[in-house]
């Protein structure tokens, strides 16, 4: 396998894990706009142990996961006291505080970043992503997954039914945190270098959009979203030159300006976001769609269920 595809697979695997990390809180009805902060905790946790104590990958990755899960667990209690817009702002602020704290820490390299001696091949992230995917599918099929859905759909009724809604939400945050830590640690070991500028507000926004565009009702959604938006730039390599000429004309540019090709990917992500929210706000893949595609005998035909519901 060429280095090019190995690189793409690594990024894809990390994006999938990160999408699931954000999916869990969102599946309980909590928008988390602080993904970059949680990922940074995991990445720096692994990077620090690897560079300072020379520990192997098999120790640093579990440690990073545990550390991030602990941080998410502790921050979840004050965070989840806030609701709606305040929660979005609080998670956003948390990510900024983490970024600022790391930027000021001489132990963690500050603005210079940390280099990570222990390296992992692309197989490790890919296998991790597969395991995480299977785990999330399993989790959504258990009672815990059912209760998460219930808390998402109506927290008051769920509470009345005797479910500990706060407990479910904290658990979703903590598991999501562990996954974000895993994504961060894999990032650190795959690219052999971490710097805090890579874990900025844009990253949090992109990951949340992957999840929301893919759909939050089933575990298929984040997977579809992450795969689509990671592979999009590869598809764009062909379509870009034509778009570029047209844009330059429309904006009245005289003289050459260098623009990163990556920008196009984000323009398309933005356009798709706006269109999706207008026409299909529940995301690309919905529960009904998955149920219709499932090849198994049903005791009650779907049509009747819809008609009498």
């Amino acid at each position: 396998m060429s280095g090019y595809w190995a690189g793409i697979l690594t990024i894809l695997a990390i994006n999938v894990i990160m999408a699931y990390a954000i999916f869990l809180p969102v599946a309980t009805g909590q928008l988390n706009l602080g993904g970059a902060g949680f990922q940074a905790v995991g990445a720096y946790g692994a990077a620090f142990l690897s560079s300072k104590y020379g520990l192997s990958v098999w120790l640093t990755i579990p440690f990073a996961m545990a550390l991030t899960a602990l941080v998410s667990f502790l921050i979840a209690f004050p965070l989840l006291r806030t609701k709606g817009v305040y929660l979005v702002l609080a998670t956003f602020a948390f990510a900024e505080v983490v970024g600022g704290a790391i930027l000021n820490s001489t132990m963690l390299g500050g603005p210079m970043g940390l280099s990570v001696p222990a390296f992992v091949e692309y197989q490790v992230p890919v296998v991790s992503a597969l395991v995480v995917t299977v785990f999330i599918f399993y989790l959504m099929a258990t009672r815990f997954g059912l209760v998460m859905r219930a808390a998402h759909d109506d927290d008051v009724v769920t509470d009345l039914m005797g479910v500990n809604v706060l407990g479910i939400r904290v658990a979703a945050f903590a598991i999501g945190g562990a996954l974000a830590g895993l994504a961060g640690a894999l990032y650190a070991h795959s690219f052999s270098f971490v710097e805090i500028q890579g874990f900025n507000a844009s990253l949090s926004i992109y990951v949340l959009l992957y999840v929301l565009l893919g759909g939050t009702q089933t575990a298929w959604g984040p997977l579809a979203g992450a795969i689509f938006f990671t592979m999009l730039p590869e598809a764009l390599r062909v379509a870009l030159p034509a778009l570029k000429g047209w844009m330059g004309l429309a904006m009245g540019i005289q003289g050459a300006r260098t623009a990163p090709d990556e920008s196009w990917r984000f323009v398309i992500l933005g356009v798709l976001t706006v269109l999706m929210m207008m026409f299909r706000s529940e995301g690309l893949i919905t529960r009904v769609m998955v149920e219709k595609l499932r090849f198994r005998r049903r005791t009650v035909p779907l049509v009747n269920v819809d008609a009498h519901a």
Partner: protein, 306 residues
């Protein structure tokens, strides 16, 4: 002591930019319960357009450099139009259905989409570099008792406070303001009583565009440089100021924005530039945990909806 007072005055001047953007944020949250993430980009759009127009002119119509005064007005106009365009594709599609907590997030998520679109189109069109804005002399300053005050900044502060006072008056005493406050209180009841939301909501977005455009060009004049990244930092600090002052409260946003500007300058003065992020965002996080309604906010705003 003199240096300290100088930093305080710098903080207030910086705060005046935050105030303008924070008022735009608080207006959409207070009236529409909508956290509009396109605001930082509209601010950036105004600054970058002002620069691009004064450097290149209008495409197809007026090639060649434009005088900077005309460029500023044109940039504000385009920003207002862009804001109305955003309204057409985000807020119109707020369909609240019972039984889904994240349904309320639709306009917020679309506004994140517009943030990506506008910011990256600007990057593609005008590059990612910081550009010098060819405005008036930014370091034109007066000396009051040993403290240097830059005249353009002083004028900006007066303009900003004037606009906020005017806005406050409009919201309190005019027919439009009454309609907007009715929508803020209860959209359904307002609709039944004959308030036409589809006509009033674009006014909020027009005001948002106007405030962002103004803040963007004032920033370009005062600091003499613009870049596609300039909205990120200012937008975040303005959000911090708004939350500190209380969501939905205009004077709260003014006090909050000034407080964030002061905190930033004083943190630089006492602890160095690197700790600013921790100080500002720590302050915000503490506010959210201890007093989520902020200093002057009403506790009912922003809880249920996004």
């Amino acid at each position: 002591m003199m240096l300290f007072l100088q930093q305080v005055s710098n903080g207030i001047m910086l705060g005046s930019v935050y105030v303008t953007v924070a008022v735009a944020f608080t207006l959409t949250i207070g009236v529409l319960n909508f956290l509009n993430f396109t605001i930082p980009t509209l601010f950036m759009l105004a600054g970058m357009l002002a620069w691009a127009l004064s450097a290149w002119g209008v495409p197809f119509v007026h090639a060649g450099p434009m005088p900077w005064q005309a460029a500023l007005l044109f940039a504000i106009g385009v920003t207002v139009v862009a804001s109305l365009f955003v309204e057409r594709f985000t807020f119109r599609f707020l369909k609240t259905r019972y039984g889904d907590a994240t349904e309320h997030a639709i306009p917020l998520v679309s506004s994140l989409g517009f943030l990506l679109i506008i910011e990256n189109l600007i990057r593609i069109g005008y590059g990612t570099d910081t550009q010098r804005f060819p405005g008036p002399q930014a370091d034109l300053s007066v000396n009051i008792g040993g403290i240097f005050l830059r005249v353009p900044q002083l004028i900006s502060l007066v303009i900003v406070l004037g606009i906020v006072a005017g806005l406050n008056w409009v919201l309190r005493h005019s027919r439009i303001g009454r309609g907007l406050r009715a929508i803020a209180e209860n959209p359904d009841a307002a609709n039944i009583l004959g308030v036409e939301a589809n006509k009033l909501v674009p006014i909020v977005f027009m005001l948002t565009g106007l405030l962002c455009g103004l803040a963007g060009v004032l920033f370009a004049i005062n600091y003499g440089e613009v870049s596609p990244q300039m909205g990120d930092d200012i937008g975040s600090k303005a959000i911090a100021g708004m939350v500190l002052g209380g969501l939905g409260s205009i004077w709260g946003a003014v006090i909050g924005g000034l407080a964030i500007g002061l905190t930033e300058m004083l943190t630089i003065h006492f602890f160095g530039a690197d700790t600013v992020q921790v100080a500002v965002w720590g302050l915000l996080l503490l506010t959210l945990f201890l007093r989520p309604q902020g200093l002057f906010g009403h506790h009912s705003i922003g809880k249920g909806k996004l």
